[in-house]
């Protein structure tokens, strides 16, 4: 199912790539939000301790700081756990019980002042046009440091002035207090996302399998046609493969039609050859009574029939729809050059009046065959003047070939072109080409018409579709 180059593989790989990207983005986004949330919780807790400390802070006349009560509520009473506070004045410093007499390293006072104020906590944003509840510089600022046991600490620092005495309040929480809950939440999240991703991939595999099932059925139908179990591919198909099936059936119909035509053709050819062959064979078994005079016409007849059928078998139009655009003027000129050379013995004046914008929807080779045969006929019968021209209407073009000869009268041409007599050798000296030309023209949806030319001879006109 997932071999290289398969549709399933392609669909699955794309989906998996998208799912992987989506899960990574989700994990990062959720992780960031969680981090902000945990950090916010801890900051709020530290900030309320800062507020509590600053409300109890007093300064004596000698500039010594003191607290009006105990500030060591939980968790600040637990020793050496990272939850510490320290108030530093010019003369003395007050410490939490948990510090156990150790000192907190403080960043430089001016550096603290230079730090940007933290963003206000969520839900605490000032109204758009109202005054902020408190100015940013009143809020404690964040910081990092190391505790007495060299553990990483997260600080909140505020500088206050109590009765003219400056003091710095630092409250700290262990870094682990942020990472611990975050790690726990992220582990759960990762497991959930993993499960989600796996479920999605499985769902897509199922979807691909189900979605591509009509293709498998289609393959089976085509195999049935090939094996001869059915004639056509069933027409009821999902919307997406319906056009493909229509094309396929069209192709099958065309093949069947071509096959039928080829069979009919071979049958005609066999019939057309076997009769003269039988005569020939009888004549040869009786050599004293037959001479070349009897044999040559039969060989000629067979040759003409073979040429007719080969000409038809070669027709390019039979091999598929015609999308070719054939500019006919240069081809007519080439054919004219050839025929003038072949008939160099007679002085024949050929006039070609065809502009270069006459373009036909016709294979060049087929056009050469049709026009060549008609022009050859004119060269055969002319007394000296031939005119080739083209007339256009909206969808068809008419190639008109006229001569001044006294060859066939129009009613004779009609007789020669009739299907039943198209190989009738009784038409005196008639080129074999007209019947094949007519067949080719009809394959293109065109026709051959004939009449009397102003030049005095025959006028043959070949109607063929114009290129769009």
């Amino acid at each position: 199912m997932f071999r290289h180059g398969s549709l399933s593989r392609r669909l699955l790989l794309t989906a998996m790539a998208f799912i992987a990207v989506a899960i990574v983005v989700a994990a990062v986004a959720v992780g960031f939000v969680l981090y902000r949330f945990v950090q916010g919780q801890i900051d709020q807790r530290l900030d309320s301790q800062v507020t509590f400390l600053s409300s109890m802070l007093r300064a004596g006349d000698d500039g010594r700081l003191s607290l009006t009560g105990s500030a060591d509520g939980p968790p600040f009473e637990r020793r050496r756990r990272g939850w510490y506070w320290q108030v530093t004045g010019p003369k003395n410093a007050l410490r939490s019980q948990s510090l156990d007499g150790a000192d907190l390293e403080l960043p430089d006072a001016s550096e603290i002042a230079a730090r940007p104020p933290p963003p206000p906590p969520r839900g605490d944003r000032p109204p758009k046009d109202g005054r902020p509840k408190d100015s940013p510089k009143d809020r404690p600022k964040p910081g990092d440091g190391r505790g007495p046991d060299d553990e990483q600490l997260h600080y909140r620092i505020q500088q206050v002035t109590v009765s003219g005495t400056p003091a710095t309040i630092v409250v700290s929480a262990p870094r682990g207090a942020v990472w611990g809950p975050l790690r726990e939440a992220m582990t759960t999240l990762a497991i959930s996302l993993g499960v989600l991703g796996t479920a999605l991939v499985l769902a897509i595999m199922l979807q691909v399998r189900l979605g591509l099932r009509p293709l498998e059925r289609l393959r089976q139908s085509v195999a049935d046609v090939r094996a001869g179990r059915s004639e056509r591919v069933p027409a009821r198909q999902p919307l997406e493969v319906q056009p493909l099936v229509s094309e396929l059936n069209g192709l099958l119909d065309r093949n069947a039609a071509n096959l039928e035509r080829a069979r009919r053709h071979v049958a005609n050819l066999a019939h057309g050859l076997k009769t003269p062959l039988a005569t020939l064979s009888l004549s040869l078994s009786n050599p004293e009574r037959t001479g070349p005079d009897q044999l040559v016409p039969m060989v000629d007849l067979m040759e003409r029939r073979i040429r007719h059928h080969l000409g038809r078998a070669r027709a390019a139009v039979l091999s598929g729809p015609v999308r070719t655009r054939t500019v006919i003027a240069p081809r007519i000129r080439d054919l004219g050059d050839v025929l003038t050379k072949v008939h160099a013995e007679r002085s024949i004046a050929l006039t070609i009046t065809i502009s270069d914008d006459v373009v036909l929807a016709c294979e060049p080779q087929d056009f050469d065959e049709m026009a060549g045969n008609l022009m050859e006929n004119a060269f055969k019968w002319t007394s000296g003047r031939i005119a080739v021209s083209a007339v256009l209407d909206s969808t068809m073009a008419r190639l008109v070939i006229e001569d001044d000869g006294s060859g066939l009268r129009p009613e004779e041409v009609e007789k020669v072109l009739r299907p039943g007599e198209r190989l009738d050798e009784s038409a005196p000296g008639f080129g074999f080409g007209l019947s094949i030309t007519r067949e080719l023209a009809e394959l293109y949806g065109g026709s051959i018409e004939f009449g009397v030319s102003d030049l005095g001879g025959l006028m043959l006109s070949l109607r063929l579709p114009r290129a769009t």
């Binding site: 081809r331 050379k341 013995e345 050469d368 060549g372």
Partner: protein, 221 residues
């Protein structure tokens, strides 16, 4: 008249050559495109018959190569390919005539005679020179209105001279045009033939131009 026949089908080539020789033509046969190209490029011929589907070098390529190197000899394409597109291509490659197989040998002979005559600049099928006349379509010579009986070699020499009447035909060229490629020739043989011809048509018609060749003169008559 000398014909180069380039045809790879042995029996057919022999049939054609036999028929052409019965009509007094000298015939050289080449069985593939390369040989044909070489012969046409180096020997003198009045006309060539060229098949299109040849081994080693396709007929159309042979023809184009001849034309490219300036060989003007008339070429008749003899092929089974009877489509008009192929005919057009053949003429564009430089052919002068085109005949499709199967064909009648009489048709081929007639067309070859016409090609040779036109190549020599005669538009009309009949060429006259004093009491002598030559029908280029049937290949028959007449003297004072009566058919002239000639051997093949005599016919070739006389045909060569009459198609270029009033012009001096080089002795060497005459020899090349009269003898087939593999025939052993001796340099006096042309003189022998001319002597025999003079006995048949009279001594005045063929002039000997010393050191150069012969001329069929119509001026005196």
């Amino acid at each position: 008249m000398k014909v180069l026949l380039v045809e790879d089908d042995g029996p057919l080539a022999q049939e054609i050559a036999g028929a052409l020789r019965r009509e007094n033509f000298a015939v050289d046969i080449a069985a593939d495109g390369e040989d044909g190209h070489h012969l046409g490029d180096t020997e003198l011929y009045d006309v060539a018959v060229l098949d299109l589907g040849l081994p080693k070098m396709p007929g159309a390529a042979v023809l184009r190569a001849w034309r490219k190197s300036g060989r003007q000899l008339p070429v008749l394409i003899l092929t089974a390919r009877d489509g008009w597109t192929e005919k057009v291509d053949g003429f564009k490659a430089g052919a002068d005539d085109y005949l499709t197989k199967p064909f009648r040998i009489e048709e081929l002979i007639m067309r070859l005679r016409a090609l040779a005559r036109r190549a020599a600049g005669h538009a009309a099928p009949s060429v006259a020179c004093g009491p002598l006349s030559f029908n280029a379509t049937t290949g028959v010579f007449e003297l004072n209105g009566l058919p002239l009986k000639l051997t093949a070699l005599e016919w070739r020499v006389l045909q060569c001279l009459i198609l270029r009447k009033d012009v001096v035909v080089d002795r060497i060229e005459l020899m090349e045009k009269v003898y087939e490629g593999d025939a052993g020739t001796d340099s006096n043989s042309v003189e022998v033939i001319v002597a025999r011809l003079r006995r048949k048509i009279g001594h005045d018609l063929i002039e000997t131009v010393r050191g150069r060749g012969y001329r069929l003169a119509s001026g005196s008559a």
